[in-house]
Structure formats: structure tokens, C-alpha cells
Symmetry: C2
Subunit: 123 residues, 2 copies
């Protein structure tokens, strides 16, 4: 692979594959949930309170999508009151490093981006 051909991974199939994944990752809550579950197994209500601002609806929907994609496993305990526990699968855990890479980039570049926006504004 020559110097300027690694981006073929991104350009790949016209970006379809990558964007399909990004769409799953890039919604409002997915990464927060995955990062929270990296601490270990949590039940629904624990997730709800550890992720400030999330609604029941979005927590449910996002968890269902993650389960559907095999990134999170869902275990229902037949008790009263009901207890449902969510755990990151190996695939889910493997998402953490690349997500961290992006997070690091984000935090590193926030000052530059905000400065650039301010400069752009002043025109």
C-alpha cells in the first residue's frame, strides 16, 4: 500500500460500510452507553442514572440496537421486581479503543476548532 492509499479503507465501497457503522455509533447515546458498560455489567436503572439526561425511550432503543448488532448482551432475570442486566460483548469491548482514539483527537482539537470558528465568525 503506497503512502496515500490507506484511506481506501474509508473510501472503500463509497463509504457505505463505514457510514453504516458510523450511523450506529454516532447517534446521541451509543458511545456513552458502551463507555459506561465498559466498567462492567449494569442493569437498566443503573445505566439510566449513570447517563445523565437520557430518556427511558432512548436508553431502550439504543440498547436494543446494540443487542441486535451483538455489541451488548441482555440478560433477563425472572424475579419480582424484574432485573435486566446489560453487558458488553467482546465485540462491544473491541469498539472502545478506536472510540478512544477518536475521543482523544476530539479533545486535542477542540481548542483549534473553536478558535477557527471564532475567526470564521469574524468576517
Amino acid at each position: 500500500m503506497s503512502e496515500y492509499e490507506h484511506t481506501c479503507l474509508i473510501r472503500g465501497d463509497g463509504g457505505q460500510t463505514l457510514r453504516a457503522i458510523l450511523d450506529r455509533i454516532c447517534n446521541k447515546w451509543t458511545l456513552l452507553i458502551v463507555a459506561t458498560l465498559d466498567r462492567g455489567t449494569l442493569r437498566f436503572s443503573d445505566l439510566a442514572q449513570q447517563i445523565p439526561g437520557i430518556s427511558q425511550r432512548m436508553l431502550t432503543l439504543t440498547l436494543r440496537n446494540l443487542e441486535r448488532d451483538g455489541l451488548v448482551s441482555r440478560e433477563v432475570h425472572a424475579e419480582v421486581p424484574p432485573r435486566v442486566e446489560y453487558t458488553l460483548t467482546p465485540a462491544g469491548k473491541s469498539l472502545i479503543p478506536p472510540a478512544l482514539a477518536l475521543a482523544s483527537w476530539a479533545i486535542e482539537h477542540v481548542p483549534h476548532i473553536e478558535a477557527s470558528r471564532a475567526a470564521y465568525q469574524a468576517r
Copy 2:
């Protein structure tokens, strides 16, 4: 930093910083444009034809956002016909590695995800 505390980068401020960046990255065309510009300076019409399916509108809008954030520089040549060239700034280039990390993850896990979806479907 202990074993399970690196995700503080993601959970950080409640995900606000990371999501602000993800929102810029995760729209339909940004990464494709950045990856395409990694080859070098390109003019508007070249980008349009190297990125299949993009509309003039979205190419313009996405490039403006990237310029505003200081990831792409825009150079207008006062000629007839007009020539406008776009180049990745150093900050823009620095986005490529983490984006590739995510792309690699995506491609690696597509089979697993699709299998999981098929299994989930059959219930």
C-alpha cells in the same frame, strides 16, 4: 489511570465534547471528503466526481463546515473560468488516523454484526 477508567475520555463531560466532534464527522459526507482530500489538493469539480452520489449542495455545505472548523483550506483563484481548490490542513490530516482506526474496526466487524442481525431477526 486504572484499568477501567480510560473511558473517562468518552464519558468526560457527559459526552458533549465528543459528540460535538462526532456530529461534525458523522454526517453523510465529511469523512469521505476528508479521505479524498488526503490524496492532495483538489478543486470543487474534481471532488464532485470522485465522490459518487454527492450533490452540489452537500458538497458545498460540508466543505464550508470543514473550512469553518479549520480542517480544510479553501483557495479561490480569480480566473475565468473560476478555479477553487481545497486542501487538508494539518488538523484535517490528523483526523485521518483515528478515522482509519474506526474504519478498520468497522470492516473487521461487519460480518459479526450482520450475522448477529440475522440471528436477531429470526425470533
